[in-house]
Amino acid sequence: MAKVERSLGEKLQSLPKPVLYTILILVTSIPQFFPVPVPNLPSKSSVDVFTILTTIPEDKPVLIGSDWTTSTRGESGGLFKAMIRILMRRNIKFAIYTTADPQAPQVAKDVIRVLNEERRVNGQRPYENWNDWISIGYFANPEGTANSINNDVRAAFADKRSPDAAGAMKPVMDSPVLAGVRSVADFSTLALVTASNTSNVTIERVTKVPLVMMVTGVMGPETQVYYESGQLKGLAIGLKGCYDLETLMSRQWPGKEFVNLDNGAKYYPTLHLALLLLIAAVVAGNVGMFMTRKRTVQRGS
Protein backbone atom coordinates (compact mmCIF):
# COMPACT_ATOMS: atom_id res chain seq x y z
CA MET A 1 0.00 0.00 0.00
CA ALA A 2 1.23 3.49 -0.82
CA LYS A 3 2.75 5.38 2.09
CA VAL A 4 1.43 8.93 2.48
CA GLU A 5 3.81 11.32 4.23
CA ARG A 6 2.07 12.26 7.47
CA SER A 7 2.70 15.45 9.42
CA LEU A 8 4.13 15.28 12.93
CA GLY A 9 0.74 16.29 14.25
CA GLU A 10 -0.97 13.33 12.60
CA LYS A 11 1.75 11.00 13.80
CA LEU A 12 1.38 12.26 17.36
CA GLN A 13 -2.34 11.61 17.13
CA SER A 14 -2.01 8.05 15.89
CA LEU A 15 0.86 6.33 17.66
CA PRO A 16 0.43 2.59 16.97
CA LYS A 17 -0.81 0.64 20.01
CA PRO A 18 2.08 -1.85 20.03
CA VAL A 19 4.50 1.05 20.50
CA LEU A 20 2.53 2.45 23.44
CA TYR A 21 2.30 -1.01 24.99
CA THR A 22 5.99 -1.72 24.62
CA ILE A 23 6.91 1.57 26.26
CA LEU A 24 4.51 0.77 29.11
CA ILE A 25 6.16 -2.61 29.69
CA LEU A 26 9.62 -1.03 29.77
CA VAL A 27 8.47 1.76 32.08
CA THR A 28 6.85 -0.66 34.52
CA SER A 29 9.67 -3.23 34.58
CA ILE A 30 13.07 -1.56 34.37
CA PRO A 31 12.70 0.86 37.31
CA GLN A 32 11.93 -2.06 39.63
CA PHE A 33 15.59 -3.03 39.54
CA PHE A 34 16.50 0.40 40.96
CA PRO A 35 14.17 1.17 43.91
CA VAL A 36 14.32 4.76 45.18
CA PRO A 37 12.54 6.24 48.24
CA VAL A 38 9.70 8.66 47.46
CA PRO A 39 8.54 11.49 49.74
CA ASN A 40 4.93 11.26 50.83
CA LEU A 41 2.18 13.15 52.70
CA PRO A 42 -0.33 10.56 54.02
CA SER A 43 -3.93 11.48 53.21
CA LYS A 44 -6.46 12.01 56.00
CA SER A 45 -8.54 8.90 55.42
CA SER A 46 -5.44 6.66 55.62
CA VAL A 47 -4.27 8.45 58.76
CA ASP A 48 -7.65 7.63 60.30
CA VAL A 49 -7.13 3.94 59.54
CA PHE A 50 -3.72 4.04 61.16
CA THR A 51 -4.95 5.92 64.23
CA ILE A 52 -7.78 3.44 64.75
CA LEU A 53 -5.51 0.41 64.34
CA THR A 54 -3.01 1.89 66.80
CA THR A 55 -5.55 3.01 69.41
CA ILE A 56 -8.11 0.18 69.64
CA PRO A 57 -8.01 -1.71 72.97
CA GLU A 58 -5.69 -4.74 73.18
CA ASP A 59 -8.23 -6.94 74.97
CA LYS A 60 -10.88 -6.91 72.23
CA PRO A 61 -10.46 -8.97 69.04
CA VAL A 62 -10.66 -7.43 65.57
CA LEU A 63 -12.90 -9.00 62.92
CA ILE A 64 -11.15 -8.94 59.57
CA GLY A 65 -12.86 -9.40 56.24
CA SER A 66 -10.25 -10.54 53.72
CA ASP A 67 -11.87 -10.40 50.29
CA TRP A 68 -8.88 -10.45 47.97
CA THR A 69 -6.76 -13.03 46.15
CA THR A 70 -3.54 -13.25 44.17
CA SER A 71 -4.93 -11.24 41.26
CA THR A 72 -5.00 -8.04 43.36
CA ARG A 73 -2.10 -8.78 45.68
CA GLY A 74 -0.38 -5.66 44.33
CA GLU A 75 -2.68 -3.37 46.29
CA SER A 76 -4.78 -5.46 48.67
CA GLY A 77 -1.79 -7.59 49.62
CA GLY A 78 0.19 -4.58 50.71
CA LEU A 79 -2.73 -3.14 52.69
CA PHE A 80 -3.44 -6.49 54.34
CA LYS A 81 0.20 -6.98 55.35
CA ALA A 82 0.41 -3.47 56.78
CA MET A 83 -2.71 -4.01 58.90
CA ILE A 84 -1.65 -7.45 60.16
CA ARG A 85 1.81 -6.14 61.04
CA ILE A 86 0.27 -3.36 63.13
CA LEU A 87 -2.11 -5.75 64.91
CA MET A 88 0.69 -8.23 65.61
CA ARG A 89 2.91 -5.50 67.07
CA ARG A 90 0.08 -4.53 69.40
CA ASN A 91 -0.69 -8.18 70.32
CA ILE A 92 -4.31 -7.80 69.24
CA LYS A 93 -6.15 -11.03 68.46
CA PHE A 94 -7.98 -11.20 65.13
CA ALA A 95 -10.44 -13.44 63.28
CA ILE A 96 -10.48 -13.55 59.50
CA TYR A 97 -13.53 -14.38 57.37
CA THR A 98 -14.20 -13.93 53.67
CA THR A 99 -17.28 -13.65 51.46
CA ALA A 100 -15.62 -12.91 48.14
CA ASP A 101 -13.59 -15.89 47.00
CA PRO A 102 -13.07 -19.44 48.28
CA GLN A 103 -9.34 -18.92 47.86
CA ALA A 104 -9.14 -15.80 50.00
CA PRO A 105 -8.67 -17.72 53.30
CA GLN A 106 -5.67 -19.61 51.92
CA VAL A 107 -4.12 -16.42 50.54
CA ALA A 108 -4.55 -14.73 53.92
CA LYS A 109 -3.03 -17.73 55.73
CA ASP A 110 -0.03 -17.65 53.41
CA VAL A 111 0.57 -13.97 54.14
CA ILE A 112 0.37 -14.62 57.88
CA ARG A 113 2.81 -17.51 57.57
CA VAL A 114 5.27 -15.17 55.84
CA LEU A 115 4.80 -12.45 58.45
CA ASN A 116 5.31 -14.99 61.27
CA GLU A 117 8.53 -16.13 59.63
CA GLU A 118 9.58 -12.48 59.49
CA ARG A 119 8.77 -12.01 63.19
CA ARG A 120 10.73 -15.12 64.13
CA VAL A 121 13.74 -13.79 62.24
CA ASN A 122 13.45 -10.45 64.04
CA GLY A 123 13.19 -12.21 67.41
CA GLN A 124 9.49 -11.54 68.03
CA ARG A 125 6.86 -14.04 69.17
CA PRO A 126 5.15 -15.69 66.19
CA TYR A 127 1.35 -15.42 66.16
CA GLU A 128 -0.27 -18.79 66.91
CA ASN A 129 -3.23 -19.95 64.88
CA TRP A 130 -6.30 -20.66 67.08
CA ASN A 131 -4.84 -18.84 70.11
CA ASP A 132 -3.84 -15.46 68.66
CA TRP A 133 -5.65 -15.48 65.36
CA ILE A 134 -8.17 -17.68 63.61
CA SER A 135 -9.44 -18.16 60.10
CA ILE A 136 -13.22 -18.56 60.13
CA GLY A 137 -13.31 -19.44 56.46
CA TYR A 138 -15.34 -18.71 53.36
CA PHE A 139 -19.04 -17.82 53.17
CA ALA A 140 -20.70 -18.30 49.81
CA ASN A 141 -23.29 -15.54 50.12
CA PRO A 142 -22.02 -12.02 50.96
CA GLU A 143 -25.42 -10.41 51.54
CA GLY A 144 -26.78 -13.16 53.75
CA THR A 145 -23.52 -13.46 55.66
CA ALA A 146 -23.29 -9.74 56.33
CA ASN A 147 -26.90 -9.79 57.52
CA SER A 148 -26.40 -12.69 59.89
CA ILE A 149 -23.05 -11.38 61.20
CA ASN A 150 -24.78 -8.18 62.19
CA ASN A 151 -27.84 -10.01 63.44
CA ASP A 152 -26.21 -12.84 65.43
CA VAL A 153 -22.51 -13.39 64.90
CA ARG A 154 -22.50 -16.64 66.93
CA ALA A 155 -25.15 -18.17 64.70
CA ALA A 156 -23.35 -16.88 61.62
CA PHE A 157 -20.09 -18.61 62.58
CA ALA A 158 -21.75 -21.55 64.37
CA ASP A 159 -21.09 -24.26 61.78
CA LYS A 160 -17.52 -23.22 60.92
CA ARG A 161 -14.69 -25.45 62.14
CA SER A 162 -10.98 -24.85 62.57
CA PRO A 163 -8.06 -26.91 63.89
CA ASP A 164 -7.16 -25.90 67.44
CA ALA A 165 -3.66 -25.62 68.89
CA ALA A 166 -3.48 -29.42 69.14
CA GLY A 167 -4.76 -29.84 65.60
CA ALA A 168 -8.21 -31.17 66.51
CA MET A 169 -11.16 -29.73 64.59
CA LYS A 170 -13.23 -27.48 66.82
CA PRO A 171 -16.04 -24.97 66.24
CA VAL A 172 -14.38 -21.59 65.69
CA MET A 173 -16.46 -20.05 68.47
CA ASP A 174 -14.45 -22.17 70.95
CA SER A 175 -11.28 -20.33 70.00
CA PRO A 176 -9.75 -18.03 72.65
CA VAL A 177 -9.82 -15.34 69.97
CA LEU A 178 -13.62 -15.36 69.95
CA ALA A 179 -14.05 -16.14 73.65
CA GLY A 180 -16.52 -13.62 75.07
CA VAL A 181 -17.81 -12.58 71.67
CA ARG A 182 -21.58 -12.57 72.08
CA SER A 183 -22.47 -10.10 69.35
CA VAL A 184 -20.54 -8.41 66.57
CA ALA A 185 -20.37 -5.36 68.84
CA ASP A 186 -17.84 -7.28 70.99
CA PHE A 187 -15.23 -6.79 68.26
CA SER A 188 -13.34 -3.53 68.57
CA THR A 189 -13.73 -2.99 64.84
CA LEU A 190 -14.51 -4.73 61.56
CA ALA A 191 -11.63 -4.15 59.14
CA LEU A 192 -12.44 -5.13 55.56
CA VAL A 193 -9.70 -5.56 52.97
CA THR A 194 -11.56 -5.95 49.70
CA ALA A 195 -10.96 -5.93 45.96
CA SER A 196 -14.64 -6.22 45.09
CA ASN A 197 -17.90 -4.53 46.04
CA THR A 198 -18.31 -6.54 49.25
CA SER A 199 -17.55 -3.13 50.80
CA ASN A 200 -21.03 -1.89 49.86
CA VAL A 201 -22.63 -5.14 50.94
CA THR A 202 -20.99 -4.84 54.35
CA ILE A 203 -21.76 -1.15 54.80
CA GLU A 204 -25.40 -1.75 53.95
CA ARG A 205 -25.86 -4.52 56.46
CA VAL A 206 -23.30 -4.37 59.27
CA THR A 207 -24.24 -1.49 61.54
CA LYS A 208 -23.37 -2.60 65.08
CA VAL A 209 -19.57 -2.27 64.91
CA PRO A 210 -17.20 0.49 63.69
CA LEU A 211 -16.08 -0.18 60.11
CA VAL A 212 -12.61 0.39 58.68
CA MET A 213 -11.88 -0.43 55.07
CA MET A 214 -8.87 -0.96 52.86
CA VAL A 215 -9.99 -0.98 49.25
CA THR A 216 -8.38 -1.03 45.83
CA GLY A 217 -7.99 2.16 43.85
CA VAL A 218 -11.07 1.26 41.82
CA MET A 219 -13.42 0.92 44.74
CA GLY A 220 -11.85 4.05 46.22
CA PRO A 221 -14.15 6.79 44.89
CA GLU A 222 -17.26 4.68 45.48
CA THR A 223 -16.22 3.90 49.04
CA GLN A 224 -15.03 7.47 49.68
CA VAL A 225 -18.74 8.37 49.66
CA TYR A 226 -19.30 6.30 52.80
CA TYR A 227 -16.18 7.67 54.46
CA GLU A 228 -17.49 11.18 53.88
CA SER A 229 -20.88 10.26 55.33
CA GLY A 230 -19.18 8.82 58.42
CA GLN A 231 -20.37 5.25 57.80
CA LEU A 232 -16.67 4.35 57.62
CA LYS A 233 -14.29 5.38 60.38
CA GLY A 234 -11.22 5.01 58.20
CA LEU A 235 -10.37 4.24 54.60
CA ALA A 236 -7.07 3.36 52.92
CA ILE A 237 -7.23 3.46 49.13
CA GLY A 238 -4.97 1.51 46.84
CA LEU A 239 -1.21 1.72 46.60
CA LYS A 240 -1.22 5.31 47.91
CA GLY A 241 -3.13 4.18 51.00
CA CYS A 242 -0.71 1.29 51.37
CA TYR A 243 2.32 3.57 51.12
CA ASP A 244 0.62 5.99 53.54
CA LEU A 245 0.26 3.22 56.13
CA GLU A 246 3.84 2.11 55.60
CA THR A 247 5.06 5.69 56.00
CA LEU A 248 3.11 6.12 59.23
CA MET A 249 4.35 2.75 60.51
CA SER A 250 7.97 3.67 59.98
CA ARG A 251 7.34 6.86 61.95
CA GLN A 252 5.72 4.90 64.80
CA TRP A 253 8.14 1.93 64.84
CA PRO A 254 11.50 3.23 63.59
CA GLY A 255 13.31 0.24 65.13
CA LYS A 256 15.50 -2.00 62.96
CA GLU A 257 13.56 -5.09 64.09
CA PHE A 258 10.40 -3.82 62.43
CA VAL A 259 9.69 -4.35 58.74
CA ASN A 260 7.61 -1.34 57.72
CA LEU A 261 8.23 -0.76 54.04
CA ASP A 262 6.85 -3.41 51.68
CA ASN A 263 4.68 -3.39 48.54
CA GLY A 264 4.01 0.33 48.88
CA ALA A 265 7.67 1.25 48.94
CA LYS A 266 8.47 -1.32 46.26
CA TYR A 267 5.92 -0.21 43.68
CA TYR A 268 5.28 3.46 44.38
CA PRO A 269 8.30 4.84 42.50
CA THR A 270 7.48 2.78 39.41
CA LEU A 271 3.87 3.91 39.60
CA HIS A 272 5.07 7.50 39.20
CA LEU A 273 6.76 6.72 35.90
CA ALA A 274 3.76 4.78 34.60
CA LEU A 275 1.45 7.68 35.45
CA LEU A 276 3.87 10.11 33.81
CA LEU A 277 3.76 7.97 30.68
CA LEU A 278 -0.04 8.17 30.67
CA ILE A 279 0.05 11.95 31.03
CA ALA A 280 2.69 12.21 28.31
CA ALA A 281 0.57 10.11 25.95
CA VAL A 282 -2.52 12.24 26.56
CA VAL A 283 -0.55 15.45 26.10
CA ALA A 284 1.02 14.14 22.89
CA GLY A 285 -2.39 13.27 21.51
CA ASN A 286 -3.76 16.72 22.21
CA VAL A 287 -0.69 18.57 20.94
CA GLY A 288 -0.94 16.57 17.76
CA MET A 289 -4.60 17.45 17.44
CA PHE A 290 -3.90 21.15 17.81
CA MET A 291 -1.03 21.06 15.33
CA THR A 292 -3.18 19.48 12.63
CA ARG A 293 -6.01 21.88 13.47
CA LYS A 294 -3.71 24.87 12.99
CA ARG A 295 -2.54 23.57 9.64
CA THR A 296 -6.01 23.07 8.31
CA VAL A 297 -6.89 26.58 9.44
CA GLN A 298 -3.88 28.00 7.62
CA ARG A 299 -4.82 26.08 4.48
CA GLY A 300 -8.29 27.53 4.82
CA SER A 301 -7.09 31.09 5.01
Binding site: E228, S229, G238
Partner: protein, 248 residues
Amino acid sequence: MDPENLLKVKMGVGVLATIGLYSVLYRENKFYRFWEHMFLGLAAGWAIVALWTESLHDDWYMKIVGNGPEGTAPSTPGYWAYVLLLPIGIMGYFVFSRKHNWLSRIPIGIILGLWSGQQVQVWWNRYGPQMADSIKPIIPTTTGFFRPGTNGLDPAQAASINSQVYVSDAITNIIFLITLLSAVSYFLFSVEMKNKFLKNMTVLGRMLLMVGFGAIFGSTVMMRFTLLIDRMYFIFIEFLKNGLFGGS
Protein backbone atom coordinates in the same frame (compact mmCIF):
# COMPACT_ATOMS: atom_id res chain seq x y z
CA MET B 1 11.39 -33.06 41.82
CA ASP B 2 12.71 -31.06 44.79
CA PRO B 3 10.57 -28.14 45.95
CA GLU B 4 13.10 -25.56 44.77
CA ASN B 5 12.87 -26.54 41.11
CA LEU B 6 9.20 -27.30 41.37
CA LEU B 7 8.65 -23.74 42.50
CA LYS B 8 10.70 -22.48 39.57
CA VAL B 9 8.71 -24.58 37.12
CA LYS B 10 5.47 -23.39 38.70
CA MET B 11 6.55 -19.79 38.31
CA GLY B 12 7.75 -20.49 34.79
CA VAL B 13 4.33 -21.76 33.78
CA GLY B 14 2.78 -18.68 35.36
CA VAL B 15 5.11 -16.48 33.33
CA LEU B 16 4.31 -18.39 30.12
CA ALA B 17 0.59 -18.01 30.77
CA THR B 18 1.05 -14.30 31.40
CA ILE B 19 2.98 -13.82 28.16
CA GLY B 20 0.44 -15.93 26.29
CA LEU B 21 -2.48 -13.83 27.46
CA TYR B 22 -0.53 -10.59 26.87
CA SER B 23 0.13 -11.66 23.28
CA VAL B 24 -3.47 -10.72 22.43
CA LEU B 25 -2.36 -7.10 22.75
CA TYR B 26 -0.55 -7.53 19.46
CA ARG B 27 -3.29 -9.57 17.87
CA GLU B 28 -5.42 -12.69 18.37
CA ASN B 29 -3.12 -15.67 17.79
CA LYS B 30 -2.84 -19.40 18.40
CA PHE B 31 -0.67 -19.00 21.45
CA TYR B 32 -3.31 -16.76 23.07
CA ARG B 33 -6.08 -19.11 21.95
CA PHE B 34 -4.29 -21.99 23.67
CA TRP B 35 -4.01 -20.25 27.03
CA GLU B 36 -7.50 -18.77 26.69
CA HIS B 37 -9.07 -22.21 26.28
CA MET B 38 -6.96 -23.68 29.04
CA PHE B 39 -8.03 -20.78 31.26
CA LEU B 40 -11.69 -21.38 30.44
CA GLY B 41 -11.30 -25.10 31.02
CA LEU B 42 -9.57 -24.79 34.36
CA ALA B 43 -12.06 -22.15 35.47
CA ALA B 44 -15.02 -24.35 34.55
CA GLY B 45 -13.38 -27.33 36.24
CA TRP B 46 -12.80 -25.30 39.34
CA ALA B 47 -16.42 -24.10 39.27
CA ILE B 48 -17.52 -27.75 39.37
CA VAL B 49 -15.15 -28.50 42.27
CA ALA B 50 -15.98 -25.37 44.23
CA LEU B 51 -19.71 -25.86 43.74
CA TRP B 52 -19.56 -28.89 45.98
CA THR B 53 -16.56 -28.23 48.21
CA GLU B 54 -17.21 -24.54 48.89
CA SER B 55 -20.97 -24.27 48.70
CA LEU B 56 -23.27 -27.29 48.46
CA HIS B 57 -21.34 -29.55 50.83
CA ASP B 58 -21.52 -27.17 53.80
CA ASP B 59 -24.60 -25.13 53.01
CA TRP B 60 -26.78 -27.97 51.81
CA TYR B 61 -25.53 -31.54 52.23
CA MET B 62 -24.23 -31.24 55.79
CA LYS B 63 -27.47 -29.49 56.76
CA ILE B 64 -29.45 -32.48 55.50
CA VAL B 65 -27.39 -35.23 57.10
CA GLY B 66 -26.12 -33.26 60.11
CA ASN B 67 -22.74 -33.65 61.84
CA GLY B 68 -21.43 -36.31 64.18
CA PRO B 69 -19.89 -35.03 67.43
CA GLU B 70 -16.70 -33.04 66.81
CA GLY B 71 -14.37 -31.59 69.43
CA THR B 72 -16.54 -29.87 72.00
CA ALA B 73 -19.39 -29.73 69.49
CA PRO B 74 -22.12 -32.33 70.05
CA SER B 75 -23.67 -33.98 67.00
CA THR B 76 -26.25 -31.88 65.18
CA PRO B 77 -29.36 -33.46 63.65
CA GLY B 78 -30.09 -33.33 59.94
CA TYR B 79 -32.79 -31.06 58.59
CA TRP B 80 -34.36 -33.15 55.83
CA ALA B 81 -36.44 -30.26 54.46
CA TYR B 82 -33.37 -28.87 52.68
CA VAL B 83 -33.54 -31.76 50.24
CA LEU B 84 -36.61 -30.12 48.71
CA LEU B 85 -34.29 -27.58 47.09
CA LEU B 86 -32.94 -30.27 44.78
CA PRO B 87 -36.16 -30.98 42.85
CA ILE B 88 -36.68 -27.24 42.51
CA GLY B 89 -33.18 -26.96 41.07
CA ILE B 90 -33.90 -29.86 38.73
CA MET B 91 -36.82 -27.89 37.29
CA GLY B 92 -34.22 -25.57 35.75
CA TYR B 93 -33.09 -28.38 33.49
CA PHE B 94 -36.41 -28.32 31.66
CA VAL B 95 -35.22 -25.19 29.86
CA PHE B 96 -34.41 -27.18 26.72
CA SER B 97 -37.75 -29.01 26.68
CA ARG B 98 -40.13 -27.56 24.09
CA LYS B 99 -43.19 -28.42 26.16
CA HIS B 100 -42.19 -27.80 29.77
CA ASN B 101 -39.49 -25.13 29.49
CA TRP B 102 -41.66 -22.85 31.63
CA LEU B 103 -40.74 -25.00 34.63
CA SER B 104 -37.24 -23.50 34.50
CA ARG B 105 -38.83 -20.21 35.52
CA ILE B 106 -39.66 -21.57 38.95
CA PRO B 107 -36.14 -21.78 40.44
CA ILE B 108 -35.29 -18.53 38.68
CA GLY B 109 -38.49 -17.00 40.04
CA ILE B 110 -37.54 -17.98 43.57
CA ILE B 111 -34.03 -16.56 43.20
CA LEU B 112 -35.45 -13.33 41.77
CA GLY B 113 -38.05 -13.19 44.53
CA LEU B 114 -35.41 -13.51 47.22
CA TRP B 115 -33.33 -10.82 45.52
CA SER B 116 -36.27 -8.48 45.18
CA GLY B 117 -37.23 -8.87 48.80
CA GLN B 118 -33.66 -8.05 49.80
CA GLN B 119 -33.79 -4.80 47.83
CA VAL B 120 -36.70 -3.65 49.97
CA GLN B 121 -34.82 -4.71 53.08
CA VAL B 122 -31.49 -2.98 52.36
CA TRP B 123 -32.61 0.12 50.53
CA TRP B 124 -32.86 2.36 53.56
CA ASN B 125 -29.66 1.10 55.21
CA ARG B 126 -27.83 2.24 52.15
CA TYR B 127 -29.56 5.46 51.17
CA GLY B 128 -30.90 6.80 54.47
CA PRO B 129 -27.47 7.71 55.83
CA GLN B 130 -26.51 9.16 52.45
CA MET B 131 -29.50 11.51 52.55
CA ALA B 132 -28.72 12.47 56.13
CA ASP B 133 -25.14 13.24 55.12
CA SER B 134 -26.23 15.28 52.10
CA ILE B 135 -28.03 17.73 54.38
CA LYS B 136 -25.44 20.45 54.83
CA PRO B 137 -25.43 24.01 56.20
CA ILE B 138 -25.57 26.39 53.25
CA ILE B 139 -25.70 29.66 55.21
CA PRO B 140 -22.54 30.80 57.01
CA THR B 141 -22.75 31.37 60.77
CA THR B 142 -19.96 33.91 60.61
CA THR B 143 -18.61 36.54 58.26
CA GLY B 144 -15.12 34.98 58.25
CA PHE B 145 -14.33 33.69 54.77
CA PHE B 146 -11.75 30.89 55.18
CA ARG B 147 -11.65 28.44 58.04
CA PRO B 148 -8.47 29.15 59.98
CA GLY B 149 -6.26 26.17 60.84
CA THR B 150 -6.46 24.86 64.40
CA ASN B 151 -2.96 23.53 64.96
CA GLY B 152 -1.58 24.42 68.38
CA LEU B 153 -4.78 26.05 69.65
CA ASP B 154 -6.34 24.90 72.94
CA PRO B 155 -9.32 22.54 72.53
CA ALA B 156 -12.00 25.11 73.39
CA GLN B 157 -10.77 27.56 70.76
CA ALA B 158 -10.42 24.78 68.20
CA ALA B 159 -13.92 23.53 69.03
CA SER B 160 -15.42 26.98 68.58
CA ILE B 161 -13.66 27.36 65.24
CA ASN B 162 -14.88 23.95 64.11
CA SER B 163 -18.43 24.70 65.20
CA GLN B 164 -18.58 27.66 62.83
CA VAL B 165 -19.73 27.54 59.23
CA TYR B 166 -17.41 29.89 57.33
CA VAL B 167 -18.40 31.54 54.07
CA SER B 168 -16.08 29.22 52.13
CA ASP B 169 -17.67 26.18 53.81
CA ALA B 170 -21.12 27.46 52.90
CA ILE B 171 -20.05 27.94 49.28
CA THR B 172 -18.54 24.45 49.19
CA ASN B 173 -21.75 23.00 50.60
CA ILE B 174 -23.84 24.91 48.10
CA ILE B 175 -21.71 23.52 45.27
CA PHE B 176 -22.16 20.06 46.80
CA LEU B 177 -25.95 20.48 46.86
CA ILE B 178 -26.10 21.93 43.35
CA THR B 179 -24.04 19.00 42.07
CA LEU B 180 -26.22 16.47 43.82
CA LEU B 181 -29.54 18.02 42.84
CA SER B 182 -28.62 18.82 39.25
CA ALA B 183 -27.06 15.38 38.76
CA VAL B 184 -30.16 13.67 40.16
CA SER B 185 -32.40 15.86 38.02
CA TYR B 186 -30.41 14.68 35.00
CA PHE B 187 -31.88 11.28 35.80
CA LEU B 188 -35.48 12.49 35.79
CA PHE B 189 -36.90 10.84 32.70
CA SER B 190 -40.58 11.61 32.83
CA VAL B 191 -40.31 15.34 33.49
CA GLU B 192 -40.48 17.36 30.29
CA MET B 193 -37.78 20.03 30.64
CA LYS B 194 -39.75 22.81 28.96
CA ASN B 195 -38.57 25.31 31.52
CA LYS B 196 -35.20 26.88 30.60
CA PHE B 197 -33.92 26.69 34.18
CA LEU B 198 -34.62 22.98 34.45
CA LYS B 199 -32.97 22.36 31.07
CA ASN B 200 -29.79 24.15 32.13
CA MET B 201 -29.94 22.31 35.42
CA THR B 202 -29.76 18.93 33.69
CA VAL B 203 -27.00 20.12 31.35
CA LEU B 204 -25.05 21.32 34.37
CA GLY B 205 -25.80 17.98 35.99
CA ARG B 206 -24.17 16.16 33.09
CA MET B 207 -21.10 18.41 33.25
CA LEU B 208 -20.68 17.80 36.97
CA LEU B 209 -21.09 14.08 36.41
CA MET B 210 -18.10 14.32 34.10
CA VAL B 211 -16.04 15.83 36.92
CA GLY B 212 -16.97 12.83 39.01
CA PHE B 213 -16.04 10.44 36.21
CA GLY B 214 -12.73 12.20 35.70
CA ALA B 215 -11.87 11.75 39.35
CA ILE B 216 -12.87 8.08 39.19
CA PHE B 217 -10.73 7.55 36.12
CA GLY B 218 -7.80 9.16 37.90
CA SER B 219 -7.95 7.01 40.99
CA THR B 220 -8.65 3.84 39.00
CA VAL B 221 -5.55 4.31 36.91
CA MET B 222 -3.49 3.93 40.07
CA MET B 223 -4.79 0.43 40.75
CA ARG B 224 -4.57 -0.79 37.17
CA PHE B 225 -0.96 0.27 36.88
CA THR B 226 -0.17 -1.18 40.29
CA LEU B 227 -1.41 -4.57 39.13
CA LEU B 228 0.70 -4.38 36.00
CA ILE B 229 3.72 -3.36 38.07
CA ASP B 230 3.04 -6.30 40.37
CA ARG B 231 2.95 -8.63 37.35
CA MET B 232 6.23 -7.22 36.09
CA TYR B 233 7.69 -7.67 39.57
CA PHE B 234 6.60 -11.30 39.40
CA ILE B 235 8.17 -11.87 35.97
CA PHE B 236 11.37 -9.89 36.28
CA ILE B 237 12.24 -9.84 40.00
CA GLU B 238 10.60 -12.96 41.49
CA PHE B 239 11.05 -15.28 38.51
CA LEU B 240 14.06 -14.05 36.54
CA LYS B 241 16.20 -12.23 39.11
CA ASN B 242 15.53 -14.22 42.29
CA GLY B 243 14.25 -17.40 40.68
CA LEU B 244 16.34 -18.39 37.69
CA PHE B 245 19.46 -16.39 38.46
CA GLY B 246 19.19 -17.36 42.14
CA GLY B 247 18.63 -14.54 44.57
CA SER B 248 20.43 -11.25 45.38
